[in-house]
Symmetry: C2
Subunit: 498 residues, 2 copies
């Protein structure tokens, strides 16, 4: 079997297992074997789970086995959570049971120094001889949306979606899954690659690249063992789908910290920067941008230029957004005369008559959407940043008891107010989704996170991007425009060859 | 009366009024006069409110007057919310009633063009002749914590605190008050300065400078009419308390947007940058940093150098935080041998033995606090960034119905788990507050925002700073260090003169 074919089968078993042996499972929630087990059960794994444990007959109500070889059914994936020195023998057990994919959570290998490196080398050698492929060791685990599988040390319930993510730090990975839940960024697959004794970051990226259901790839990267081959793979994937990379150990001090953390050399920064750019990877500069960009790139249409239209209800916000666009290399172009004329017909005579389009104090939802449509149809505009699209919390304020009485509002009236605010918000969001689809231009929203569940559902389902600050929205737009430019260059190059 | 004395009295009346005439008050919540009235009532203004309206006898259950001159009691402050053309005559009414401070919410003055400028000039001339001082016109209003007074177009309930804030954009101001509530940043006074026909940004800053209860000043600035005098004032205030400024219109495109918004020339950017620095002002580069920095500077001890100790439970987060420190010019120094020895006695043998202090998987709260104390006592460390100090949400996860049953947990057990997690979190936070006080070094926390009300209260009351991303924490630490440096330079200069 070719190595790449073997790797593909290994990763199919890792991300789509029908059955899992959890070696080191325990009822003790103070131990990782207990937490991972609870995590798998609590998130509703769609498959069979076989706890393996030398003492207990049942773990969390599920029949346990003393050894994997005693499990009567076939097993696709084993996960080991026992002390480092026990792992090699357990890997041999897995081989006997025909389990060829083993996720090693156990730590105390290469990350702890020369002794640990020796243990890891020995483990790898055992695995290779036995024909077993390893994830980790020192991995925090994996998530698979297709199997509702959370085999992780972090107690998270990731949102399901189409981002696939490999992280060389378990903690960063766990946090991103948690943030994703809050920010409506859904994941398809996640793997904490640990020490990468066998399977490496490159293998996971290649797998994500071939997975048609994966629409964006996230990589948290500290170090590379084979940078050349890795970069080729990443470049190949980035031709087809956005690849967002966050580099840990960007500075000398950060590299030193990374060395003491993973034992690996973090690499030379300027070389990374340049090669990321050449390969068409989107480099996120902050952890927040990391997930913001992956989410937007997985969901929004790509703009065909770097010209931003801004729509706002308040002058100051227009100024701040314009500054941020300019600082990040985006253009805030003058609008076409036809656009101004169309807006003149809707807005009061003293409107700003330019970009940003300041709606002044217009509160009517219809006006917002109409102006939005006119702005998005302007051929000078490649994407729109829409501020204050969602209605405020006027009505929740008015329902405060002291005020309700003074204003003579009854509950029915307050509920009616609330319902109308929610209806207005829904209309705006649905209108924006429709405009994005029909015109093929991205819209990034700025506003407070909505408290209404209805808005949250719309935002998640329709892939709308909403950020609390204009700077975050502009940064996301800048990355969309960067990747759009890369794809256009690729297409032009390909066209030139025909 | 000297002009500065007159201004002081005017602003005393603005921020501490015992009685207010709201001219243009209405029962109609679709109008600004209704929203501002509801806002004042709903937030519990500690004083008398006199609605003035030509039609209704009662507004929201309060007796209304047709003219301010008909109000029998003395009135400290008038607020006008009527169309522009009616304002001059109303100002004359105020003068007759001995009201010398008038807040003009009404718009359609200089911000709308030459016609509006004429209206504004005429209004100012009327006010000057009558001995009335104006806030605005085109102001969004004010907030005063001492009077529980929200006289604003934005429906907000700002958190009370010790930050005083003047904004040349009403929308930015309203949003900051709203963000402050979420981020536990409390305000003492806020004013949206509007078109600054009479009272200007400089007057407000000077007033805040003399107010001993104000511990930090925020300024959103788009343009200055008298930059020279303004800068002197700001410099004088910054010698005594932190002044955080956000400049709108930093770029050419942003300046253009600012012109069309406020009609004023935004000024030459490099000159602003240099003079802000010379005057000891802290310039925030993003809207988020604006409020983050003001909050931290108003509450945390100033570090005496730029060396950061980092404590973390996860290697990757240590790497990212170190990178961010390095990128923002902060040092992540080697720890002293005594510190390493003390940590050796607590942590397992394979701990990172350096800065960042990676606690590996130690989950014991006592260990976290002990390591924290050792790190803070290191003379090479001027301030600490503490990651993952708060306990995770393990227990809320375990209380999910499906899992609770499987694990055989009863409600009492789940509640006991939750209580113990909360107790642990409280111990960490209280311990950190104690260390900050006794050692005089700032600690900035990184973690998910807590969902427990007990933590939120502690964070608000004790002035702890908690951020969801390491980059935000590092940025705040960088600003604390910048202002600390400025204050040390000042003190050294003063000492040299003795």
């Amino acid at each position: 079997m070719a190595k790449s074919e073997d790797t593909r089968q290994t990763l199919d078993a890792l991300f789509h297992p029908r059955s899992i042996a959890l070696i080191g499972a325990t009822n003790n929630l103070g131990k990782w074997g207990g937490i991972i087990m609870a995590n798998a059960i609590g998130n509703g794994f769609k498959g069979k789970l076989f706890p393996v444990n030398s003492r207990d007959e049942q773990i969390m109500g599920i029949r346990a086995y003393r050894k994997v070889t005693e499990i009567p059914d076939p097993v696709d994936l084993a996960c080991i959570v026992t002390p480092a020195e026990t792992v090699p023998a357990l890997v041999l057990d897995c081989a006997r049971k025909q389990i060829r994919t083993v996720l090693v959570i156990s730590s105390n290998f290469a990350e702890t120094g020369p002794e640990g490196q020796k243990r890891q080398d020995a483990l790898l050698s055992v695995a290779r001889d036995a024909g077993v492929r390893l994830v980790g060791p020192n991995s925090m685990g994996i998530f698979s949306s297709t199997r509702s599988l959370v085999l992780l040390m972090a107690l998270v319930e990731p949102l399901k979606g189409d981002i696939s993510f490999v992280s060389q730090s378990g903690n960063i990975g766990g946090q991103m899954l948690e943030w994703g839940k809050r920010l409506k960024a859904g994941f398809r697959h996640f793997v904490s690659s640990g020490n990468e004794a066998d399977l490496s970051c490159r293998d996971y990226v290649e797998y994500f690249g071939r997975d048609d259901r994966c629409r964006a790839v996230m990589i948290y990267l500290e170090s590379l063992k084979h940078p050349g081959g890795w970069m080729e793979t990443a470049r190949e994937v980035a031709r087809r789908k956005p690849v967002v990379v966050f580099k840990g150990g960007k500075t000398e001090a950060g590299q030193k910290a990374a060395r003491s953390h993973s034992g690996a050399l973090a690499g030379v920064v300027p070389i990374f920067d340049a090669s990321f750019r050449q390969a068409g990877l989107i480099q996120a500069r902050t952890t927040e941008a990391f997930i913001d960009c992956a989410r937007s790139l997985s969901r929004l249409p790509l703009p065909s230029g770097n010209r931003v239209g801004i729509i706002t209800r308040g002058g100051g916000w227009g100024v701040v957004t314009t500054d941020a666009c300019e600082e990040m290399g985006l253009e805030v172009p003058a609008l076409q005369p036809k656009t101004l004329e169309a807006l003149d017909r809707i807005l009061p005579p003293y409107w700003s008559r330019g970009n940003p389009v300041d709606l002044v104090a217009a509160t009517d939802i219809r006006i917002y959407l109409d102006c939005m449509e006119i702005l998005m149809k302007d051929p000078s505009v490649d994407g729109v940043i829409a501020l204050s699209a969602l209605p405020g919390r006027v009505m929740s304020f008015l329902s405060r008891p002291a005020l309700k009485e003074r204003l003579g509002l009854d509950d029915a009236r307050v509920r009616a107010y609330e319902a109308s605010a929610e209806k207005a918000g829904r209309e705006v969001l649905e209108g924006i989704v429709h405009l994005m689809r029909t015109l093929g231009k991205p819209v990034v929203l700025v506003g407070m996170y909505p408290t209404s569940g209805a808005f949250e559902t719309l935002i998640e389902k329709e892939g709308l991007n909403l950020y609390p600050t204009p700077e975050r929205a502009v940064r996301v737009m800048a990355r969309l425009m960067e990747y759009g430019r890369y794809r256009r260059r690729l297409e032009a190059r390909e066209a030139a060859w025909i």
